[in-house]
C-alpha cells in the first residue's frame, strides 16, 4: 500500500459524485419504485384564507384506479401537528399546524385533501373531480397591517404577533446604550428596507416514498435532514423512533428549502400505514413554488448613529418578519440568526435589535440560503454606503475606519460573539486590485461628466457571517430545540479500504469528495479507497444534517476525531506487531515506523491483522473502527470583500452587471474547485435577490409568480463572469482551520449589487431602489415616480399571463 505523497487537502479534484449526479444515473427519490406502489396527489386550496364548508369526494372515490380519498377530517386524529423546533420566547404564540387542513385554510396552496390511486395520472384526474366549498375570510397580506391586528389569521390566538425577540447591548452588558448614542449622534442614517419574499427553487422537486411493509417503516425523501426528520416523524405521529428508517438518497439541491418536516412527508407516512401499502408523492414545479416553504420577507427599520468624522457610534434594528400562515421547523428562529450579524465587521459600541414575528395568510417561510444573515448583511452594508454618501467619502474608506483591524483579533463584538480571526484589510486590498477599483471610479466620473445614457455604479460589501451551526450551548441559549454537534464513524475494512460514515448528508455540496480528501491525508490511504456513507439512518445512525455552512467545520471535524481514534487503536496493535513501545512509533503517510529504524507496518496491514485477530495484544478488541461526536466551542467567521460594478441604462432602467470581483476568506481550503462552485452558486442566488427574484401575491393572496416563467431565476446567460480569489486566515475554532463557504456568496453579494445600482444614479437624486431592482423600479426611481410601481394583475403577454394558481396537476 503506497502512501499519498502530495497532500489531498488543497487539491482541486473534480468531484467523485459528479458523474452519477450530472448524468442522472442515480437514485433520486422519484426514481424509486416498489411493488404495489400507490401514488398520492394533493388537492390544494385556491383561497388564501377561508372556512372549508363542504368537501364532496364521492365522484373522485368512484373514479378508475382510485384507492382512497382523505380529507383533513378523515385524518384529524392521526395526522398530528407539524413541529416547530425553535420557540424563540417562552410566550411565543404558535397555532396548530395540521398537515391536511381540517376546518380552515390559511394560505393558497395549503393541502386540503389527498387522492391515493394506482397511477399518478388517475390520481390527477380524480383531484379534478373533488368539489370543495370555501367561505372566504379576510386575507392578511401586508406585514404592517398584520402587526396591527385589524384582521386575524388565527382568531384563536387573539393576535397576528407570534413573538418579539430583543437583544440590547446595554442590558446584556456587551456594549453601550443605543438611545444615548442616537441622542448624541452627529450624523443619523435612518432607512427602511424590504427583504422581499423569495422561493428557494431547488432543482429537484420534493419527493417522498414510504414503505410500511417491513418491521421498520422506511421513508425515502428528498430532504436535507434525514436524522431530524426521523425524530420529528416519531414525535409527530407516535410511531416509535426505532421503528422508522429514513433515507435521503441523492438529493438535488435544497438551499434550506429541504430543511423541513413537510405536511406531505407526514401524510405519506400516515396513509401508507393506514393502507398497509407503499406510497409515493412527487410534487410538480407549480406545487413546489406555492407550497414548499418560502424565504426572507422582512421589513427592516434601521437607525445608524455616527460622528461627523465617520466613526459609527450605535445601531438600532427593528424588524417585522413574515412567518406566513404557520410556524414550520425553524421559522421563528430564522430572523434571529441575523441578530448577531447586523454589527458585522464594525466596532459598534452600542446595539439594539428587536424582531416581531407576524402571521400572514401566505405560504410559511423558513430557512433559505443564509437564513437571517443575508438580511443583516444587506442592511448594514447598505447603511455603510449611505453613511459614506452622507459624508461625501469613499465607501471603502468609511468601512476601513470602523472595521476590526487584523491585529485586534480575537475580538468580542457588541453582541458578545468572539470573532477568532480575520483580515479585512488584506481581502479588501486584493479585491480592489482584482476589480480595478480606481480605474472603474475614473470611468464612472467620466460617464457622469459626459451625461452618458449608461451610468456606471460601484457597490461594496465587506461581509462576515457566523457559520458552522453548532455550538450546542449557544443554540441552547437561543431556545433552539436541539444541539449542534455532528457525528462520524470510520470503518477499516480488511481489504484495506475505508468507509467513512457522516451524519452531515450532502445534497449537492460534494461531501463525498471533500471527506475522502481529508481522510486520505489523515490515514494515508488513497483517495479512491475511501467511500463516504451518508443519508440513511441505518448506515449513518446519528447526525444533525446539513445546513448553515456547518458540514466542514462541524461534520468533518467529527470525521477527523474518529480518524484519531482509529490511529490510536492501530498504534497499539502496530507496536505489538513490531515489538516496540507505542511511544516509539511514528505515524506518517499511512505507515507506523519504529523511530530510527526501517521497521514499519501500514495501517491497512494492521487492519487486516485485526480482522484475522490471530495475534492481538491482551485486552484489545478485534476492531479499529471508531466513531466520534464533535461539538465546537465557537462558530467560525468567514469574511470577504465583494465589489460589483453595474451599468444602468437611464432611459430604460435596465441593470447590467459589468464586473463582479470578490475575495473570500474561508480559512483553510480542502478543495478549491468545490469552494469556487459554492461561491459561484451563492453569487447567482444573491444577485437574483438583488435583480430578479420575488414571490408576488395579488390582493386575494394568490401567488402570481407561480411558474418559473414569472418567478425569474436567472440562467448562466444573465450572470456575469465572476472574478474570484481568496485570502487564507485559518480559523482557530477547529483543527483544520476551515470556515464555511456554503452561504458566503449569497450573503455577501446582494448588497454589493444594490449599492452599485444606487451608486450609478445617486447623482440623479436616487437614494434607494427596492429589491428586486427591476428595470421599471430603477426607471421609476430615476424619474421620481412612485417607489414601487404597481404589481398589477392584468394580463400582459406570455405564458406567465395565464392563470396559474398552482393546482396539483
Amino acid at each position: 500500500m503506497t502512501a499519498t505523497v502530495e497532500p489531498e487537502v488543497g487539491r482541486a479534484r473534480t468531484r467523485k459524485e459528479d458523474a452519477r449526479l450530472i448524468t442522472g444515473r442515480t437514485r433520486w427519490t422519484d426514481n424509486i419504485t416498489l411493488p404495489g406502489l400507490l401514488h398520492l396527489v394533493f388537492v390544494r386550496s385556491p383561497a388564501a384564507h377561508a372556512k372549508i364548508t363542504a368537501i364532496d369526494t364521492d365522484e373522485a372515490r368512484r373514479m378508475p384506479g382510485v384507492i382512497a380519498v382523505f380529507t383533513g377530517r378523515d385524518l384529524a386524529d392521526v395526522q398530528g401537528s407539524l413541529p416547530c423546533a425553535w420557540p424563540i420566547t417562552p410566550d411565543m404564540k404558535a397555532p396548530p399546524a395540521p398537515p391536511l387542513a381540517v376546518d380552515q385554510v390559511n394560505f393558497a396552496g395549503e393541502a386540503v385533501a389527498v387522492v391515493v390511486a394506482r397511477s399518478r395520472a388517475e390520481a390527477v384526474d380524480a383531484v379534478a373531480a373533488i368539489d370543495i366549498d370555501y367561505d372566504d375570510l379576510p386575507v392578511v397580506l401586508d406585514l404592517a397591517a398584520a402587526a396591527a391586528d385589524s384582521d386575524l389569521v388565527h382568531p384563536d390566538l387573539g393576535t397576528n404577533r407570534s413573538a418579539t425577540w430583543v437583544f440590547d447591548s446595554a442590558d446584556a452588558g456587551t456594549g453601550g446604550d443605543v438611545a444615548a448614542a442616537i441622542a448624541d449622534a452627529e450624523v443619523l442614517i435612518e432607512r427602511t428596507y424590504r427583504q422581499q419574499r423569495l422561493i428557494p427553487a431547488f432543482m429537484e422537486p420534493r419527493s417522498v416514498v414510504v414503505d410500511p411493509t417491513g418491521e421498520q417503516l422506511t421513508m425515502w425523501s428528498a430532504t436535507q435532514v434525514p436524522h431530524i426528520l426521523r425524530l420529528m416523524l416519531a414525535l409527530t405521529t407516535g410511531t416509535p423512533e426505532h421503528k422508522i428508517r429514513v433515507i435521503a438518497p441523492d438529493v438535488g439541491g435544497g438551499f434550506g428549502g429541504k430543511l423541513q418536516v413537510t405536511p406531505e412527508e407526514v401524510l405519506a407516512m400516515v396513509i401508507a400505514q393506514r393502507l398497509g401499502k407503499p406510497v409515493k408523492w412527487t410534487e410538480t414545479r407549480s406545487e413546489s413554488l406555492v407550497s414548499a416553504h418560502h424565504g426572507r420577507d422582512q421589513i427592516q427599520k434601521l437607525t445608524l448613529a455616527a460622528r461627523r468624522d465617520g466613526t459609527v457610534t450605535g445601531l438600532k434594528v427593528e424588524l417585522l418578519a413574515d412567518m406566513g400562515a404557520y410556524l414550520r421547523l425553524v421559522t421563528p428562529g430564522v430572523p434571529i440568526l441575523g441578530a448577531f450579524m447586523f454589527n458585522a465587521i464594525y466596532k459598534f459600541p452600542a446595539y439594539h435589535f428587536s424582531c416581531t414575528n407576524v402571521f400572514t395568510t401566505k405560504t410559511p417561510t423558513d430557512a433559505y440560503r443564509g437564513a437571517g444573515r443575508p438580511e443583516a448583511t444587506f442592511a448594514i452594508e447598505r447603511l455603510m454606503d449611505e453613511l459614506a454618501a452622507e459624508l461625501g467619502r469613499d465607501p471603502i474608506e468609511v468601512r476601513a475606519q470602523n472595521w476590526i483591524r487584523h491585529d485586534e483579533f480575537p475580538f468580542t463584538t457588541v453582541c458578545g460573539l468572539e470573532y477568532d480571526t480575520g483580515n479585512y484589510e488584506a481581502a479588501t486590498a486584493r479585491a480592489k486590485e482584482l476589480f480595478d477599483y480606481d480605474g472603474l471610479r475614473a470611468e464612472q466620473r467620466e460617464r457622469r461628466e459626459r451625461g452618458d445614457v449608461v451610468q456606471l455604479g460601484i457597490g461594496t460589501s465587506t461581509f462576515t457571517e457566523m457559520c458552522g451551526l453548532a455550538p450546542s450551548r449557544v443554540l441552547g441559549s437561543l431556545s433552539y430545540g436541539a444541539g449542534g454537534w455532528e457525528h462520524a464513524a470510520i470503518r477499516m475494512l480488511p481489504s484495506g479500504k475505508v468507509e467513512v460514515v457522516t451524519g452531515s448528508s450532502a445534497h449537492g455540496q460534494g461531501h463525498e469528495t471533500a471527506w475522502s480528501q481529508i481522510v486520505a491525508d489523515q490515514l494515508g490511504v488513497p483517495f479512491e479507497d475511501i467511500e463516504v456513507l451518508h443519508g440513511d439512518t441505518q448506515s449513518s445512525p446519528k447526525g444533525l444534517d446539513t445546513y448553515g455552512s456547518r458540514s466542514l467545520t462541524v461534520g468533518a471535524m467529527a470525521v477527523l476525531k474518529a480518524g484519531e481514534k482509529v490511529i490510536a487503536k492501530a498504534r497499539r496493535v502496530a507496536a505489538h506487531q513490531l515489538e516496540c513501545a507505542e511511544g516509539d512509533l511514528e505515524f506518517a503517510g499511512g505507515r507506523f515506523t519504529v523511530r530510527g529504524t526501517e521497521k514499519s507496518t501500514g495501517i491497512t496491514d494492521v487492519a487486516l491483522a485485526v480482522f484475522a485477530a490471530h495475534d492481538l495484544p491482551d485486552g484489545v478488541e478485534p476492531s479499529l473502527d471508531s466513531e466520534a461526536t464533535f461539538d465546537p466551542e465557537n462558530f467560525s467567521f468567514p469574511h470577504g470583500t465583494h465589489l460589483c460594478a453595474v451599468e444602468v441604462d437611464t432611459e430604460t432602467g435596465f441593470v447590467k452587471i459589468r464586473k463582479y470581483a470578490c475575495v473570500d476568506d474561508v480559512g483553510t481550503v480542502v478543495n478549491p474547485l468545490i469552494v469556487d462552485g459554492q461561491v459561484h452558486g451563492g453569487l447567482a442566488q444573491g444577485l437574483a435577490q438583488a435583480l430578479y427574484e420575488e414571490a408576488v401575491h395579488d390582493e386575494s393572496g394568490t401567488l402570481t409568480t407561480g411558474t418559473l416563467a414569472d418567478y425569474l431565476v436567472p440562467s448562466a446567460v444573465d450572470l456575469p463572469h465572476f472574478d474570484t480569489d481568496r485570502t487564507v486566515t485559518p480559523s482557530t475554532t477547529n483543527q483544520l482551520g476551515a470556515k464555511g463557504v456554503g452561504e458566503a456568496g449569497t450573503i455577501a453579494s446582494t448588497p454589493a449589487v444594490v449599492n452599485a445600482v444606487v451608486d450609478a444614479v445617486r447623482h440623479l437624486g436616487v437614494t434607494d431602489v427596492p429589491m428586486p431592482c427591476t428595470p421599471m423600479r430603477v426607471w421609476a426611481a430615476i424619474n421620481h415616480r412612485s417607489a414601487d410601481s404597481g404589481l398589477g394583475t392584468e394580463a400582459g403577454g406570455g405564458l406567465g399571463s395565464l392563470d396559474t394558481s398552482g393546482g396539483a396537476v
Partner: protein
C-alpha cells in the same frame, strides 16, 4: 403535471388534417411544435378532446422563393428560419426577430406558423409579420384563403382562423436591401418581451424612403406604428429625425399593465426602443 385525456391524430396531408379537424369539432386543438401548447395542456389550462398534430405533413415545411415574396411553410422551425439564406437576404427583420426567440431547444421544436397561430402578443414573430405585411395562407373545408397579417391577429391568443382551418404557409414580401433590427427588452434572457420593436427601413442617398415599424406586447395584438412610419418618410436617416419620429411610437397603443411594466412605462419603453431599433436598422 398531466393533461386530461385526449385523442391524438397525426394526418400526413393538409387535406387530411382539415378533414379530421372538422370531424373532431370545436374541442379539437392543432399542435405544431408544442412549445406553448404542451405547458398549457400540462397545467390543464386547456382540455381539448382531440389533438391534431401537423408534425408529419411534409408539405408544411420549408422556405421557397416566389418572386416578390418568400413563402414559409407553417411548420418550418425557428431554427430553420434562422439559418435560411433567403430569409437573411430578403427578410432580414424576420431573421433578427427569430434570433431572439427563447433558447436553442425551443427554436428546434417551435415553428413559425405555430407561433403566429398561438397569437401571444408577447411573441416575437407577430410584430415582424405585421410590419412586413405578411399574408397568412389558411386552409379549411371550403378551401384556401389568404388573410393579411393586420386582419389575422384578433385578440389575445385569438386569430381569424376558423375552427376547421389550419395555417398552411406565410407569404412574406421581400424587403431586399432594407435595413432591419428587432429590439427586444426583457428582464432575463429566457423571459418574454416586456416590449419589443421590429423596424425595417429603406433609405436612398441618406433619405428614408420607406419604413415599417411593428410593436410587440403593446396591445392585445401586435401594433403597427403608422405615425412613426409616416413621420420618417422623406426625412434624413439621422438620429435626430429618428428620435423625433419615435416620440409618436406609443400613439394608439393599449398595453396591459403587469408586474414587469405599468402602462406608462411600457409606452415609454416603446418610444425608447423604437429609437434604438430604427437607429440600428439604418446604421445611423
Amino acid at each position: 403535471m398531466i393533461p386530461t385525456a385526449f385523442d391524438y391524430l397525426a394526418p400526413s396531408t393538409v387535406d387530411d388534417a382539415v378533414r379530421v379537424l372538422a370531424d373532431a369539432g370545436e374541442d379539437a386543438k392543432v399542435i405544431a411544435g408544442g412549445q406553448s401548447l404542451v405547458p398549457v395542456l400540462r397545467m390543464r389550462l386547456a382540455a381539448p378532446t382531440t389533438l391534431v398534430d401537423l408534425g408529419r405533413i411534409a408539405e408544411l415545411r420549408g422556405i421557397r422563393d416566389d418572386g416578390d415574396a418568400l413563402v414559409i411553410g407553417a411548420m418550418t422551425t425557428h431554427h430553420d428560419v434562422r439559418r435560411d439564406p433567403l430569409v437573411a437576404t430578403h427578410t432580414a427583420l424576420l431573421r433578427a426577430a427569430t434570433d431572439t426567440v427563447a433558447d436553442p431547444q425551443v427554436r428546434h421544436r417551435g415553428t413559425f406558423g405555430g407561433a403566429l397561430a398561438h397569437a401571444d402578443p408577447a411573441g416575437d414573430l407577430l410584430a415582424p409579420a405585421l410590419a412586413l405585411e405578411a399574408e397568412m395562407v389558411v386552409c379549411g373545408m371550403d378551401g384556401r384563403r389568404a388573410v393579411a397579417a393586420r386582419d389575422f391577429f384578433v385578440d389575445y391568443f385569438t386569430t381569424a382562423l376558423r375552427p376547421d382551418e389550419i395555417l398552411v404557409e406565410v407569404r412574406v414580401p421581400k424587403h431586399t436591401g432594407w435595413g432591419a433590427h428587432y429590439e427586444k427588452f426583457s428582464r432575463v434572457a429566457q423571459a418574454w418581451s416586456i416590449v419589443a420593436v421590429a423596424a425595417a427601413v429603406q433609405a436612398e442617398d441618406g433619405v428614408i424612403t420607406q419604413a415599417r415599424v411593428g410593436l410587440t406586447n403593446m396591445s392585445s395584438v401586435p401594433v403597427r406604428a403608422h405615425a412613426v412610419e409616416d413621420a420618417l418618410v422623406g426625412r434624413p436617416a439621422t438620429v435626430e429625425s429618428i428620435r423625433a419620429a419615435a416620440e409618436l411610437a406609443a400613439e394608439g397603443t393599449r398595453p396591459a399593465g403587469d408586474g414587469n411594466a405599468d402602462v406608462a412605462y411600457r409606452q415609454h419603453l416603446a418610444r425608447v426602443l423604437t429609437t434604438r431599433a430604427l437607429v440600428t436598422a439604418v446604421g445611423a
